[in-house]
């Protein structure tokens, strides 16, 4: 399906714009030529580096190897010096038969030679093994060197004392050699697919104009088109916008999705090898990251504006486009795939409901890892800490100077690629086992929640029963009973809002899970009267915070209204501060008096739901009560309340008149509440909008 014999076979050539693109490529081809053969070619120092490595290896066997019966070795500089010798040595490395395998020879060297002394013809091979012996690394059976080998690979760095697990993330990458063989891939300072060294500040619009590679690769067998280019650099992957990899678990909307054909076209057209899109190619299509990546991900996260695409510094050095200091204008002309992207863009509004998405745990992990990467560039013993349970193995890793050659960032990069490959919307492309484990996890989670609900429910029944028991019990038993009851109430609260081990703060997750189940909601309504004010307030805040999601999940059951009366009761015990912040949460008001977001879907969802609207009205009413009863008009709490009310009224006025729910009850003091903050005209508007005046209904 994706066999391309040459550049000409790309479907892009069917577009007229491609010719222009080709023309541009010619210029860039010359640049490549320059960089490969001309002054831009990277000078290789690998010989030097190798020499140092060899020195290290030399030192260690000398220290450890008891079999130094061979006496002094030749003080030959190996690969360190002369290129003339290189060809010679290379010829020596041809293995005629097994017994001439230098690796075997090396190992055999230490024992008395069984075979007759080889003739002059083979003497070179024997010499070769002598020569190459030095490259030998310490045998597995031997002790591990206590100094990091990387120290020696760095030029002009004096050998340092043994230091375990030094931070290796800042080491320079070994310089890549240029190969004079024509037809080999163009040499880059940073090869394709290498995770970039620095975490450059990303800029979404800072697309790198990268030409297609010069050479024509041999036709590859049709490869499975990966949902993402497999060669995206880690930074690009980390910072992909609108990626479900990074998302909040409850994104609001379903994003557009490409059909497999479009996806394949996009990948196939923009590259020579399907599935092997280089990060440069990926990057050069503006908006490409936006649309098909969004397409791959079933759930877009709106407003994830901060994430952008970073350019790899190495690439920039290579291509003629100078790196702009500020983000360039968004409309950079994309050669080649441009028209294709336009097509995709136009089809962006297409939605598909049956999408798979990453497990929330994956997303969370990735998000965490992202944070880690941003905060700290290194993570010592990353693999060791994570995987091993045996202390001996950990000790071994600690003493292992070769550990962490693969940086945490690089590991994350591979992990991201793998996880991206798991996402797909096509059931034929889905990873069956991954989907199965996900479903199993969802089932398990639900079962766990149900079990917690059952346990808490039995606690609740016990607590409700205490009055009766109290009356029946003896005087001396009563304190014990009271204690028991208190203890059980605490347990109930912990079950609702308790934190899992390993978290610093309790997360809302457990509570939200419970609240998604009908029985859970009813149970919470019954528990509320037994909780302390703070505990109950916490529950109320959590509910308000997650209200849109809960409303969505309640669509079928419609049990939320049962919570209204316990909440109302609770509200009358809450102080002004709490009520203010509660209102903020409920209406999703911005923290400062800054300009609000263009739309407030949180508030819309709340207003369109019976429970949401009722709760909002009750909160407003309570706030009004507090304000009117408070003699001190200049208190900070009052000020805060007024501030929030201003924002609230602004939001309410702004919000379009959608189909509002019918509230359970309308408090009477709302008109007087609003009259403090808006003029006559707007007051009328609000009245009609919220249907506060009875007669209008």
């Amino acid at each position: 399906m994706f066999r391309y014999e040459s550049l000409e076979d790309c479907p892009l050539d069917e577009d007229e714009d491609a010719f222009q693109g080709l023309g541009e490529e010619d210029e860039e081809i010359d640049q490549f030529n320059e960089d490969t053969f001309g002054s831009g070619a990277v000078d290789d120092d690998w010989q030097e580096a190798h020499e140092r490595l060899a020195e290290l290896e030399e030192k260690l066997p000398a220290a450890v190897n008891e079999q130094t019966g061979n006496g002094e070795r030749d003080e030959m500089d190996l690969l360190g010096d002369h290129e003339e010798n290189l060809a010679e040595r290379l010829s020596k490395m041809v293995i005629e038969n097994e017994l001439e395998d230098p690796a075997i020879m090396r190992a055999v060297q230490t024992r008395p030679v069984l075979q007759p002394q080889p003739g002059s013809l083979n003497s070179s091979i024997w010499d070769g093994s002598e020569v190459l012996r030095r490259i030998r690394g310490p045998l597995l059976a031997q002790e591990m060197p206590t100094v990091s080998v990387l120290e020696y690979a760095l030029p002009q760095k004096p050998p340092q004392g043994p230091e375990d697990d030094r931070d290796l993330s800042e080491r320079a990458l070994p310089r890549r050699s240029t190969s004079p063989i024509i037809g080999s891939p163009p040499v880059r300072a940073v090869p394709i697919g290498t995770p970039p060294k620095q975490m450059a500040v990303p800029s979404f619009n800072q697309q790198i104009l990268c030409p297609k590679p010069v050479h024509v690769r041999p036709p590859m067998p049709p490869r499975y088109p990966a949902p993402y280019g497999e060669r995206m650099s880690p930074n690009q992957l980390c910072n992909v916008p609108n990626s479900s990899l990074l998302g909040h678990p409850f994104p609001p909307s379903v994003p557009p999705v490409l059909s497999p054909l479009q996806r394949a076209q996009l990948l196939g057209g923009a590259q020579l090898q399907p599935g092997r899109m280089s990060p440069s190619q990926f990057a050069r299509v503006p908006g490409f990251v936006g649309s098909p990546l969004a397409a791959m991900n079933p759930k877009l996260l709106q407003g994830r504006v901060g994430q952008m695409l970073p350019p790899a510094p190495g690439f920039r050095a290579f291509f003629s486009a100078p790196p702009p200091a500020t983000p360039p204008p968004p409309q950079q002309h994309p050669p080649g795939p441009g028209p294709l992207v336009q097509n995709l863009r136009s089809q962006a509004p297409m939605f598909r409901a049956d999408t798979t998405h990453l497990h929330p745990q994956h997303r969370r992990l990735l998000h965490q890892r992202q944070q880690q990467n941003r905060n700290q560039h290194r993570n010592l013993n990353g693999a060791g800490d994570r995987g091993s349970h045996r202390s001996s193995h950990q000790d071994h890793l600690r003493k292992d100077p070769y550990a962490n050659l693969m940086l945490q960032r690089e590991k994350d990069w591979v992990a991201k690629i793998q996880m991206m490959q798991l996402q797909s919307t096509d059931p034929y492309l889905d990873d069956f086992y991954y989907q199965e484990t996900k479903e199993k996890q969802v089932r398990d989670k639900r079962r766990k929640t149900l079990v917690i609900i059952e346990k808490t429910y039995s606690l609740l029944l016990d607590v409700e029963d205490y009055e009766r028991r109290y009356l029946l019990s003896l005087e001396e038993e009563r304190p014990a009973l009271m204690d028991e009851r208190k203890h059980k109430i605490c347990s109930m609260y912990d079950n609702l809002r308790g934190k899992l081990p390993g978290q610093e703060r309790p997360s809302d997750d457990l509570f939200v899970q419970i609240m998604c189940i009908r029985k859970g909601k009813r149970m919470v309504a019954r528990i509320l009267p037994f909780l302390s004010t703070e505990q109950a307030a916490d529950i109320l805040m959590t509910t308000a915070r997650n209200l849109p999601f809960l409303i969505k999940k309640d669509a079928q059951d419609e049990v939320l209204p049962c919570l209204l009366s316990p909440f109302s009761l609770l509200l009358y015990h809450l102080p002004s501060v709490t009520v203010t912040s509660l209102l903020q949460q409920l209406m999703n008001l911005p923290q400062s008096a800054a300009a609000p977001a263009p739309s407030n879907p949180h508030l819309t969802a709340v207003l369109q739901n019976k429970f949401g609207l009722s709760l909002l009205l009750v909160v407003l009413s309570r706030g009004e009560d507090l304000q009117s009863s408070d003699p001190a008009t200049e208190s900070t709490e009052n000020n805060q309340w007024m501030q929030v009310m201003f924002m609230a009224t602004r939001e309410l006025l702004r919000i379009p008149q959608a189909a509002l729910a019918k509230p359970i009850s309308i408090p009477t003091n709302l008109v007087s509440l609003f009259s403090r903050y808006v003029d006559r005209q707007k007051l009328n508007l609000l009245e009609t909008k919220l249907q506060l005046v009875q007669g209008i209904r």
């Binding site: 017994l99 055999v108 001996s392 070769y402 590991k411």
Partner: protein
């Protein structure tokens, strides 16, 4: 596995000692230092282990870069249990000799088999050339 639940990934295996079986029949043992999305492996302090019967011999190989498609399977080696084996380690020459003998026997048997088939007028089955193993 807790790195990426529900998936198989080599990330947790990094810096651990592994046994890798290649498609050409070789067995490599080394510390897994680096991987990529194609499961290309970088093995450090690699040793090629040749097994013949109850004996085995190790050939030190240094650093190996293995292309992912050539890997049949790989597994982590428990360092504590590593020496706990009924197999006997012998020198390289010995194991190569044993291997040679084994190959020879195999060839001879194969020859006999082919001859026997020919005698009965049956055709020789052609070997599948995809895997040399």
């Amino acid at each position: 596995m807790n790195y990426m639940p529900g998936t198989a990934s080599l990330i947790e295996d990094i810096d651990k000692k592994h046994l890798v079986l290649l498609r050409d029949g070789r067995t490599l043992i080394g510390f897994l230092r680096s991987i990529d999305q194609f499961a290309n492996l970088v093995l450090h302090q690699t040793v090629e282990r040749i097994h013949v019967g109850k004996k085995y011999g190790d050939i030190p190989r240094g650093i190996f870069v293995v292309r992912g498609e050539n890997v049949v399977l790989l597994g982590e080696i428990d360092l504590e249990k590593e020496s706990d084996t009924p197999l006997q380690q012998v020198s390289i020459e010995e194991i190569l000799e044993e291997q040679r003998v084994e190959q020879q026997t195999k060839l001879e048997n194969e020859k006999l088999k082919v001859q026997a088939l020919k005698d009965r007028g049956l055709s020789v089955p052609r070997a599948d050339t995809l895997d040399e193993y």
